[in-house]
């Protein structure tokens, strides 16, 4: 396998992008809320960022941030009434939200309807232009322009992913993270411990939406083309599967899910055609056999435990 093959690089880029998406669904799920509106938020971010870079020449990074921010504002608006809703209602309401957003984008002029927006300047091209300012080109690294762009895109995504993961882990180990966990485990007990449950649920919902919107912008500027159908129900299912297969107890679960589900169809070419079947089967099977997902809080503990026991046994044998 040629590592610097632009196609392979793009596959890895998508794994990283899906990693950020997985974090976004994880944070919402961390408070026990199942949102089926993540594709909707993603599309908002994607369209806002695309329109900004294409029509208004806004610098890429600002466009991406604004896309995420506006997705967050919309989450605030629809979250206020819907977050009072319990489990199933929230799921249906957010599913409905996603569909309404899709229909609106299908019919708006500025989004160019079903044809979508094409010809966006890719992240790779933007970064390459910057690089050229410093006097470096692909040749300086012995790579073609196409390869260089793909490498730059991947590096950019890795950097963002690292940053998001770093901040998520920080949040997880803070007062806020503990509040999320407590609310997920038992809302009544969380209230009795003095936690403003509604506020934290809203916060988690908004963080999830901002990240999803941000991913939408990234997605648009990697593929350079978006249509409303990129963010349909199948996208919802895809994002949800990350958390389902990996589990949503700790962030490594959804990340593992995103990695496996994005890699498998690429590695096993046969699977590509049956990608959706794979998602469906995984959802049914995992729920039946391991409803908390494959990776839980105890996974690592067990691993360490085994190692510790092994060490203890060896120590005993040594004596």
């Amino acid at each position: 396998m040629d590592l610097f093959n632009p196609y392979n690089l793009q596959v890895i880029t998508f794994i990283v992008l899906n990693g950020i998406l997985a974090i976004s669904i994880y944070i919402t799920l961390a408070t026990g809320q199942l949102s089926l509106g993540h594709a909707g938020f993603m599309s908002i971010g994607a369209y806002v960022a695309s329109i900004l870079t294409k029509q208004a020449d806004v610098p890429l990074i600002f466009a991406l941030l604004l896309g995420g921010l506006i997705a967050g504002v919309i989450a605030l608006l629809i979250g206020a009434p819907t977050l009072k809703l319990h489990g199933l209602y929230l799921a249906i309401a957010t599913l409905g939200f996603g569909e309404v957003v899709r229909v609106i984008f299908l019919n708006m002029e500025i989004t160019n309807g079903a044809l979508g927006i094409t010809g966006l300047k890719s992240i790779g091209s933007t970064l390459y232009d910057w690089l050229k300012v410093t006097g470096l080109t692909g040749d300086s690294f012995g790579l073609s322009v196409l390869q260089m762009k793909a490498v730059l895109t991947l590096l950019f995504l890795l950097l963002l992913f690292g940053l998001v993961l770093f901040l998520t882990l920080r949040l997880h180990r803070s007062r806020i993270g503990r509040a999320f966990e407590a609310i997920k485990a038992d809302e009544t007990a969380a209230k009795a411990m003095g936690l403003p449950v509604a506020y934290y649920k809203m916060l988690a919902f908004i963080i999830g939406a901002v990240l999803a919107g941000f991913c939408g912008g990234l997605f648009a500027h990697i593929t350079t083309t978006i249509t409303p159908d990129d963010f349909n129900y199948h996208k919802v299912v895809e994002i949800l599967s990350f958390a389902v297969i990996g589990g949503s107890e700790i962030v490594w679960g959804p990340l593992f899910g995103a990695f496996i589900l994005t890699t498998l169809p690429e590695v096993l070419r046969v699977l590509a055609e049956y990608k959706m079947i794979m998602y469906g089967a995984i959802m049914v099977l995992v729920m039946a056999f391991r409803p908390h997902g494959l990776i839980g809080t105890d996974t690592f503990a067990k691993l360490f435990d085994r190692r510790r026991k092994q060490a203890a046994r060896q120590a005993e044998e040594g004596m």
Partner: protein, 288 residues
Amino acid sequence: MFWQQLVNGLTVGSTYSLIAIGYTLIFGVLGIINMAHGQIFIFGSLVGLVLITEADMPLGVAFLAAVVVSAILGLILEYTALRPLRKKNVPHLASLISTIGFAILVEEAMHKLFGADSRAVPVSLGSEMYDLGIVQVRGVDIIILAVSVVLMFVLHFWINRTKMGKAIRATAENNETASILGINTNMVIVTTVVIASALGGVAGCLIGLAYSALIPTMGLNLGFKGLAVLILGGVGSITGAMVCGIILGIAEVFSVAYGDSSYRDAVAFGLIILILLIRPQGLFGRKV
């Protein structure tokens, strides 16, 4: 024009009602939303349609096949995606996710078996027009309305009067108490899922007749409409499902006739968001 649209709305709406009753029945006894409902009955209806086009079966046989196949898929759903989750203490939303998974499987199966394209219904049934003074009605519209209304009455009677119907209501009220009282709740659940899916099968056939075509993706779209009706009517309310199905049908037809046709599919969810704001338990729901 107005009356004509009203009749169209009634026809479309009555099929939505049948779909939503399926959701509400299952929610009643299991407390879950079956996200695979739409895909299940469109699969059944497509089997019926293929029997007509490929095997020259008469309409009645095809209709029966559609209903039976839907019911069987409902059974498979129960045994693979629902029952395994009832045994243990699983998270609240697990069953929602497993039915989403099942829906994907059924949808993909449809794509592989029947192709993704629209399939025309070659039946010229009820294309003649009847003039009823202020409105002209297609024969097919009358059939759809008649079948839906009759089925709803039968269901109403069955739920309220028969032993099985009473067992279903008891299980919906309180699963544990019902099983203490000697009701075989597993049997009740199987019956409910089968009936809900079969009703969907009927709705799918009627919709096929109304639009003269069926597409695999209709499962998702119609499923969404049924969900919207479910929330509008109040989750678990059969009356709510019946009435609000009709309301949604009429709202959609009028939004197309007097508004923008491209927003038709957003009407359902627009109504959901509205109802959740003003009356979250739904029009006919009990406050929890």
